[in-house]
Structures are given as structure tokens and as C-alpha cells.
Amino acid sequence: MVDHILSILIFFPALAGMFGFMINKDSIRAYGVAVGVIEFALSLLLWFWFDGGVAGMQFMEQIPLLPSFGINYILGVDGISLFIIVLSAFITMIGIASLTETPNVKNMIVTLLFLQMTMVGVFSALDGIVFYVFWELSLVPMLYIIGAWGGPLRIYASIKFFLYTFAGSLVMLVGMLFMAYFYYQATGEWSFAILDWYRLILPENLQLWLFLAFFLGFAIKVPMFPFHTWLPYAHGQAPTIGSVILAAILLKMGTYAFIRFSLPMFPDASVALMTPIAIIAIIMIIYTAMVAFAQKDVKQVVAYSSISHMGVIIIGTFALNVEGISGSVFLMIAHGVVSGALFLLVGVIYDRRHTKLMSEFGGLAHVMPRYATIFGLMLMASVGLPLTINFVGEFLSLLGFYQQSHILTLLAGTAIIVGAIYMLAAYKKMFFGDVTKEENKNLPDVNKRELLALIPLSIITIWLGIYPKPVLEPINKSAEAIVQLMHDKSITDEAKMRIPSPLNKAQTSQTSSEGAH
């Protein structure tokens, strides 16, 4: 079981989904929760078995798929993918547990289980094509969720989501085919295995082209400015559960892919394009934060806020040093938890009032104190208050990038200001002041089921904010490995200079600290 835990993690939900068709629709929800819990337990088992001391891939599996063309079913996790997998299992469980949609809930739950398969698959795939398969497959369930349970514009939103991402990733596919071809030229045999690709050292101009090809696919997924406009529609129209999973996991695919593909495969290109990408990220941070400030719909605020946070993640990723990369990975987890919770919270109020316009609310803190408290907590986490999960990630990301560029970090740092602005403004509009609307006068506070979903998220938010070590350590190990790899295989001097080898640095810091004591 230990050897195949990943395959089990991937295909168990799918199989369970199949069987789900047989369940009576009255008890399907319980079934969904049960499967979610089992899956989550399995993911915890994965974490438990995971050896935090090892930097490389673990639980590797390999089954030939199209060996003559170098396509194999290869799985494996390292410190970076591990926690995203655990997170996705967790979020899906929470999501199903807090599901409120009633119309054909069976289809919904089955779809969610399939979606989970694709998510775990993406984060554990170590073969380009297998990765691509899950990456594309994840679009379908989300398309259905948005399109079938969404708001009035749902069809427009879902098609836009699908086609936009699809188009981007097809270009990525061409990039992958090129990558495999270059590997073929270099070694005489086809291979789509990512670990093989890591060994391939390409001239800089090729790196640039391939980087751009992959970039298009990833950037649309993240989504990076100016490819971000599908996201507000998707979130605005999607049902709560859809937004939760979209924000918490699906967006992470893009940023994860940057770390898994772009950085180790094209170190020189990454260095060469660091500044433009950082500038895009800064635009994401500031511009989308301002757009979020202008929103009237609270869900849109959260949606745009995710784009803004993704900007910080990108910044951390392209810091190209251990601090930055671990920071960005940690921020992925953090943002997963927090944005997930925020969307759930929005869902709570939407279920009660069937509107998300902030002007409809006001003074909710009087009527729903518990709700206000949890929302406040998540708000503070989202603006990156210390001792909340987000701060660790944001701090490390910015800290890391500061080594690369001071002025850009200063600009990116405005995230903590603009973020506070739109979040506090939204909170004020919704919760402060007097209760003006009659229908808000006696709204019920959060109920048991909602608490069931929200309390664990709150606990994680605080726990990992105070004691991130258990997560941060394995991440750090793998981040060091990646940075070391980049340093070793980079060819231009600038890259060598920009990407400090963790080993040397470790020694230097050793000496300096000894000097201090």
C-alpha cells in the first residue's frame, strides 16, 4: 500500500464517484462526506509516511503507458506537492461537508469526487503528459459545476473558463512536445519524464521560447494579469463549493507548475524574465487590489483578492532563492485555506439572503456576532497579520524577493497596504454601522454544519501561523534541492549570480553566525 498510496489517492475518489451513482440521493451527501473523510485520512497517511528529511521524490510509481514514445505513468511527491495534495483532500472534504446546493446534489458530489481525482493527479504527476492529462481533465468537472449550478451568467462564465484555459494549455502542450524532442535529440530516446527533463541543459534562446510556451499555459491558470478576466466571472457565477475549490486548489496548479516546470527546466530563462514577470506580479498585486476595492459584490472582492495574492506567490516563486520559494509554496497552502474559508463565509450569507451585494448588508456584527468574528479572523489572515498562516508565506516571499530587487519588493510590499484597504472597507460595509435592512434584522447566526467547516479552517489558520515548522521544513528541503539544481544547471553567469547555491550559503551563514557568538 505504501508504494501505491499515490495511485490510491488519485483513483479512490474516482471509483467512489462511479459507485456514487448507485447511492440513493437522500443519503448521497453522507456518502460524499464519508469518501472525503477517507481520502483525507489517506492523505494524512501519506504525510505520515513522508520522510521530511529527504529532498527528492518519494512514493515513486512507474507504469509504461506509451514507452516507445517515452510516455510513462510516473507519480511521486516531494515536500512541495505533498501539502498541496493534503490541502486538496482537506478542502474537498470540507467542501462536501458544507454543501448546501439541493438540486441534483448527486451529480454535484460525483463531479466533486472526479474533480478531486484530477487535482491529486496534477500534483503527483511526474510525467509531462500525465500531468497534462490531469491538468486538462480538471477543467471538465469545474465546467460542469459552474455551468450547471451557477448564477445567471453561468454558461458564459463556464465556457470562458474552459476555452481560455484550454487554449493556453494547448500551447503548453506544444512546448512539452518540443521539450521531449530536444531530449530525444540529446539522448536519442523519447521521454516526457519531468525528472529526465531536469537533466536537460538547453541553450538560452531555446529556454526562452519554451519558457514562454509553458508560461502561457500557467499564466492563464494562475491567473496572471492580463489573462485574469475569466476568474471574476467564474467566481461570480460559480456556486460556493465551486469557488472554494477553484480558489483553494485549481489556481495553485498554475503556481505549482511554475515551480515544478519553469524554474528547474529553464533556470536561465527564469532569471532573464524575472523582472518582467515580477512587474506583472506587481501589477496583479496593486491593480487587482484596487479593482477589488471598487467591487460592490463581496464575492467579487474575494475573487479579485485571490488574484492579488497570487501576485505575491509569483513574486516569491521568482525570488529564485530558498526563502522565496518556500515562502511562495507556503503561501499557496495559506491562500488555499484562507480564500477557501472566505468563499465559504460568503456562501453562508448568500444562503441566508440570496444576494452578495454589500450594500444589502451592514451592521451584521450585531445580528451574527460569531459569523462576524470568524469573518474577521479570516480577513485578518487575508491581509497577512502575523501569527496567521498568510503572514508566514507573504513575509518569506517578499523577504526572498528582496534579495533580487529592492525597489520591486517595495512596490510588491504595498500588498499589505492595498490589501488592508479593500478588505477593511468590505468588512466595514458588511458588518459595521447599524442594521438598516429589515430582512437583516433577525438573520440566524452560523449554524452547526457551517461551523463544522469553518472551525477547522480557523484552527489551521492560527496553528500554522504560530507553528509553521511541520509544513515549512519539508518544503524547505525540496526548495533547497530545486534551487541547488537551478544553480548547477544554469549556464549564464547572471543566472549563476542570481541563483545562490544553498550549499555555499549555508556554509557562509555558518561562519558568520559563529563569528557572532
Binding site: 506509451l66 514507452p67 486538462e136 481533465l137 455551468g147 465556457i159 474552459f162 506544444v174 512536445l177 524532442y181
Partner: protein, 502 residues
Amino acid sequence: MLEPINVSMESLNVMTLAPMLIPVIGALFILVVDLFKSNLDKTLYVVLSLLFLLIDFGALVDSSGLFMQNGTLMGMFDVMLIDGLAILSQFIIVGASMLFIPLALTNKRFHEFSYPEFFALFLFMISGFQFMVATDNLILIFVGLETASLALYTLIAMHNRVKSFEAAVKYFTMGALAAGFYSFGAMIFYALTGSVEIGQIATTLAGNGYADLGFVLVAVTFLLASFSFKLSLVPFHTWAPDVYEGSSAAMAGYMSIVPKIAAFVVAMRLFEFLIHSGVVWLEVVLYILVVVTMTAANIWALVQTDVKRMLAYSSVSHAGFVMAAILIGSTQANSALFLYWVLFSFTNLGSFSMLWISRQKKLPDHQSSDHSYDKFAGMIHTAPIAATSMALFMLSLAGLPPFALFWGKMYMISSAVTSGYTVLALIMALNSAIAGYYYLKLIVYMFMKEPVVDNDGTVYASNATLALRFIIGFAAIATIFAFAVLNPTLEFITSFVYNSGY
């Protein structure tokens, strides 16, 4: 006095003829049966033709064994040419036909199937295609082509609706023109080289170093025109949508596969030697044809309101996509062509069969055409399984992994990449994205809209019988689990293509 010509039987090796003769015999047999006892039930004829096709298939397996032993073999005064391409394409032809013929077993009665001639003609057509692919003699190609086409026109017409006659007439007339083009092109080649065997033509031309290239190009132009018609490349595609719409869904699905693979093989034989001997003109022209066909057909498919017509345009676009293989001309590309077509055949047959089983005898008034989009609205609520499998075929056609067609697309694009056609590869990729829209449109209708009133799901399976369900189920499963048998298939194809020197 002339001496009597004596030809040793083994020098003929008649075996090469076997696969083509079997359907002919079958056809005659059916006619004979009908002579003795008329108005027998269609099921009999269906099973009979299925049997003969099975035998045919066996013969193919046999000759493929021969090929693996001692490579390409000629026969019948070197008119027959049994090489890898011939065998592979025949496999596809016969296989697809075997999938098609049971579609006649609808539970509604349709005009054409009540005639035994239908099945006879069908078998004649198959042998025609087989001849077409199993020779490099322009005469025999012509004969095969015309046998098949004439049979096909009739089959279409036998559907016996106003639209199908119109379709038949259009197809026929344009076909006649195409035949004219073909023979003219062949004539010029003959005039240039004094031979009608592609192999010799190639050698002769190479011998005199393409002395009068201008005439060669004119000849190629005419041949290209006639095959572009068969392959429905823009602007020679105009028949496709109308004929597909006019003929029955099953026949349309069949037409989108079998005639084209035959044409592809001939095109491969005709054009690739020219491309390899560096006729830049052809490269340019093919490039343009490929790109225009892919893109334009996609764009027209976007705006269709009838699913069948949409699928027609999409098949045109797929043809363009595959034509790229002939432009690229590498072994990988040619293998990709066959792989793609194998995968395409059951995906497409599957989707057309879905339309076929949902075919109504007469249209309700809210419905503009046989298979208008809104007919499928809310299908997931009324007929979930049907909707799911239809969606499956759509996703596969859109090239979404891991469904069948994705692997074909991937391998094809990869072959473009490998041969340095980067831009072409990108165009192909982006076209798949555009295509995504109209396949998605159907899914949107099926999964995200509310059913039209007075539509309980029965209509979607009104024609369904066990046989049809089986066919569709087979197609669906093949579509999902294609990746499992991908490796052996690809190796088989590659070895055949490689060993026949393409």
C-alpha cells in the same frame, strides 16, 4: 503468328486479390439470395455482409502476416501492390465497415435497408476502396475510386428523402467533375512518362531530373484537385456539409471515415515522392490547403445550428488536420496519420451513431432540423447515460486527454514539431482550441440547459436496439481506454509504415 501467352499462376499470386474479391463475392451472393427468395428481412443481409466482412478481415490478417514475413509484394502483373499502407488502410476500411453495418438494425424501419441491393452495393463499395488503396496503378486507382463512389452516391440516394436526393445529385455531379480532373492529371503524367504506375513515374521523373517541371505541376494540380475533393479540403469541400446533412447519420459517419482514409493513402503514394524530391510548390500549396481547411472549417462549424452539420464541418477540419501528415511526410507523420484515423474512426462513428439512434421519423415543430442543438437541451436530466457518452465523444473530438483522439492529435503535432514545422504545430494546437467551442456548445446544451417541454428522454434512444447500443458502448469504451492499447497499435502501425518505405 503470335505465340500463345502463358502466365504461370504463382507469378500472379492471386492471394493478393483475395481481400478485394471477398466483398465482391459477398455482394453477388446477396443478390443471388434475393433472386431465389425476395423480401427477406434486413437482419439476414446485415449478418451476411457482416460475415463476409469478417472473412475479409481474416484475409487481411493473413496478408499482413505475409507482409511481415517478406515485405511488400506485387501481384496480378504487378498491378496489385500489397504494402504496409495498403494493409493498414484496409484494416481501417473493413473494421469501420463492420462497425457501420450493424447500424442498419434500427427498430424504426428505414427505406434503404429494405433493399438487399443496399447491402450488395455496400460490399461493392468496400471492394472498390480496397482496390483503390492496394495498387499504385493510376488506372486501377481510378477504377476503384469510381466503383466506390458510384456505389456511394446510390447508397446516399437510397435514404429516400428530398434532401438525400439533393445530396446525391450534388455529390455525384462534383464527383464527375473530380473524375474528369483525375483522368486529365493522369493523362498528363502518362504523356510525360509513358507510364501510369506511380513508382515508374517517380523513377522516370527523377531520371530526367524533372526536366519540364511546369507540366508535372499541372498534372499534380489536377490530381490534387480531385483528391482534395475526396478529402474535402477547402475550397473543394462544399459538398461535405450538404451530403452529410442529406444522408442518414450513420452513412454520414461512415463517409467521414472510410472514403477519406482510402483517399489519404493514394494521396500519400502520389504526393510524398514529389515532396521528398523537393517540389517546393507542392509543399507551399499543401501548407496553404492544410491551414485553410483546418481553420475555415472550424470557423464555419462554430456557426452551425444543426449538430450533424456541425460534425460535418468538424470532419472537414479533422481531414485538414490529418492532411498535414502528408505535407510533413516523415515516417512519424505517416504513422500518426493512421493512428489518428484509427482513433478518429470509432470516436466519430460513435458520435454519429448517437445522432442516428436519436433520429426521429418526423420533426416536432419546435425543431428546425433533424439534430438541432436545442433537441439535446437538458439531456442529462432525461437520458443521463446517453448524454454522458455523447459528451465523451465530443470531448474526445475536441482532443481532451486522456480520450482517444487526444493521443492522435498529440502524436501528429509532435511529428510536426519533430520535422521543424513549429508554426504549423502552433496553428494545429490553436485550431483544437477553436474547435473546443462548438463541441462544448453541445455539452452545454446537454448538461446546462433545461429540457424543451414535452421532451422525455425517449427521443434520444428512439432508434436504439441492442446492436446499436453495443456499437456505441464499444465506441465509448474504446474512446476512454484507448491509451491502454496505444503502445502496441502505434508500434504495429509504425513498423508497417516504415517497412513500406514511407
